[in-house]
Symmetry: C2
Subunit: 364 residues, 2 copies
């Protein structure tokens, strides 16, 4: 088991990663002084709840907690204001008060949704992240929580740091293969933007990682979380440095919006986004080998690197106009500068982005 500390002053918190660690939840909740007199609410989605909710609930009840549960449909469509309203209703009925905490048991959708419920319920109560996907290692660090608006993804949200993150690796074994592959997209992105040595390691260990070898997965998640935590600690409110985490996301988010939330997995959209944005980076001085290497590694993980058929580049362009990474009418992209480095590029012209999308169509 490994523990990583995210340093954010009085909002610092630990990330525990390991096999069989769910049994230690009660101790850790006690250490963080989570009240046993106020009810907790575990929020999960249907697929995860069927598999893992009874165990988590039992561990917490044995530790003396009163536990309510709320289960939402699986998939991105649950990240809505309608679901926020439903969960707040459940929290009220369960008697959650200001000393209560919410436990987000699931992937990124559950983490973002339950995290925003915690951020806004009574103007903010505490919450614990229990990610059940590889991809969620990314959203579990940094305190960004949100729901979607029909016109834009993640546009309604908050910065709200969790009390702790508990990454139980045995939960990953129930993931469908497609989600395992997609989960590594953010791991590859973290390597690409910040750590050339880790990029090589991920490339070499692809087989063990896809087979969920515990030691390899533990190292990959710990390193991915560390990279993100270092960046977030330096820029909690996303004023500068943190923007480099958006590599692959400007195109990726637009793809998700146009394909319909949930059609493309987030990791798949980010993978295509990375293929496109490394290509874009070449126009700003990044070596062409960075694009080739990134695409090669993404393919090794079975991830898509071209536009799926039927996705119209013009609709993707329009969807990018609503992306919050556009500032004052100009396109801003976070682009790699090499393997292990990235920077923000302002004033990227629309024509160039359109060209890139055309090239991505041909790669499909």
């Amino acid at each position: 088991m490994k523990t990583l500390h995210v340093n954010l002053g009085e909002r610092s918190y630990p990330i525990h990663i390991g096999e069989g660690i769910v049994d230690r939840l009660g101790d850790w909740f006690g250490e963080r002084q989570l009240s046993r007199r106020s009810p907790l609410m575990i929020v999960s989605d249907q697929a995860v709840a069927d598999l893992h909710l009874p165990r988590v609930r039992a561990v917490l009840e044995e530790a003396g907690y009163r536990v309510a549960t709320a289960v939402v449909p699986s998939g991105e469509t649950s990240k809505s204001l309608a679901m926020l309203e439903k969960l707040v209703g459940e929290a009220l009925k369960a008697g959650l008060d200001r000393r209560s905490a919410i436990v987000a048991l699931g992937g990124g959708v559950v983490g973002d949704l339950a995290g925003f419920v915690a951020a806004s319920y009574m103007r903010g109560i505490r919450y614990v992240q229990m990610p059940t996907t590889i991809l969620a290692h990314d959203s579990s660090v940094g305190g960004k929580v949100a729901v979607n608006h029909p016109l834009a993804k993640n546009i309604i949200g908050a910065f709200h740091q969790p009390e702790m993150v508990v990454f139980e690796l045995s939960f990953l074994r129930t993931l469908p293969e497609r989600e395992i592959r997609a989960g590594y997209a953010e791991v590859i992105k973290h390597a690409l933007i910040a750590d050339a040595e880790f990029f090589r390691w991920v490339d070499e260990q692809a087989e063990r990682l896809l087979a969920l070898d515990p030691a390899a997965v533990e190292h990959a998640l710990h390193t991915g979380c560390r990279i993100k935590a270092d960046i977030v600690s330096a820029d909690e409110r996303e004023n500068g440095l943190r923007a480099i985490l958006n590599v692959g996301h400007t195109i990726g988010h637009a793809l998700e919006a146009v394909a319909g939330y949930g059609e493309l997995l987030h990791g798949e959209a980010i993978s295509i986004g990375m293929a496109g944005e490394t290509l874009l980076a070449v126009h700003y001085g990044c070596p062409a080998s960075v694009h080739r290497e990134t695409v090669r590694v993404l393919r090794k993980f079975g991830l898509p690197v071209g536009l799926p058929p039927g996705l119209d580049p013009e609709r993707i362009m329009r969807a990018m106009g609503h992306d919050k990474k556009f500032r004052e009418g100009k396109a801003v992209f976070a682009l790699p500068t090499g393997i292990g480095g990235a920077a923000v590029q302002e004033g990227v012209p629309a024509e160039l982005v359109r060209d890139i999308l055309q090239q991505l169509m041909r790669e499909a």
Copy 2:
């Protein structure tokens, strides 16, 4: 004109109160470095927009700002997640980005709603409060923003401090008489919980205040804001002291919920709540004269001090069960300890509250 500074470290902000000060908006926006390159959005309600929106818009456009506007129906029902979704859509269509600001032009409903839009849009952008009611002097200090849930008032929200508050006194002259009266309920509460001398002054000046004499109103709003600002500065996140601001609100919020949001004005509900909670305070050692004096002053301002006919005390009791001031199953009340002082009282039994409600029925 008077300016008050709310001291909250890097989130400190000024409150400007005066007649004809709307013309200085451009200067003040410049001082706060609000970007002229990103659009602003003024949020208002129909009644206020008809009267004052063109002037505010013109002042800001003359100062070089691009200004979008969004108008919501007047009344408490606009404080909903549905309206949040609508306003976020308007903000997206108007191209608001992370450097944009929202201007909340209206009473407490507009301030709470537009403030929560600002708190959650792109995870938080800046906003300016322009209160157009006397009552809103209260909600304009402290950064508490929220919308309602069908089961509870103000339950979904955030702490989000404004860039500044601009209180243009000439706007108050368009208020209906009922709203002027209701507006003074929070002024009386601020006097009651913190300043015996101000309580006497409010009592003596009732006539001038109700006639909207500018010097009297300026002093009343400045002092009310100062009392609240002192309390909020000492306890921004409402962990302790700030709870005394809730005098009159535990019963008051329940009354609003049962009467149907918007049937009773907030100030009227708080007035009845103060009548009840000063009576409750007597059971905990507060002199009976405090209840008598408070009721006398409230009546002088034409405010209600008894339960409106048709409001069932049992429904009010149930509504209080969902109020967020109940912690771990026990009723907590903020109660006056004398004229000019208040404290939190834990463990108030339901029977006693039921008795108080019965007495309030007879006062109607």
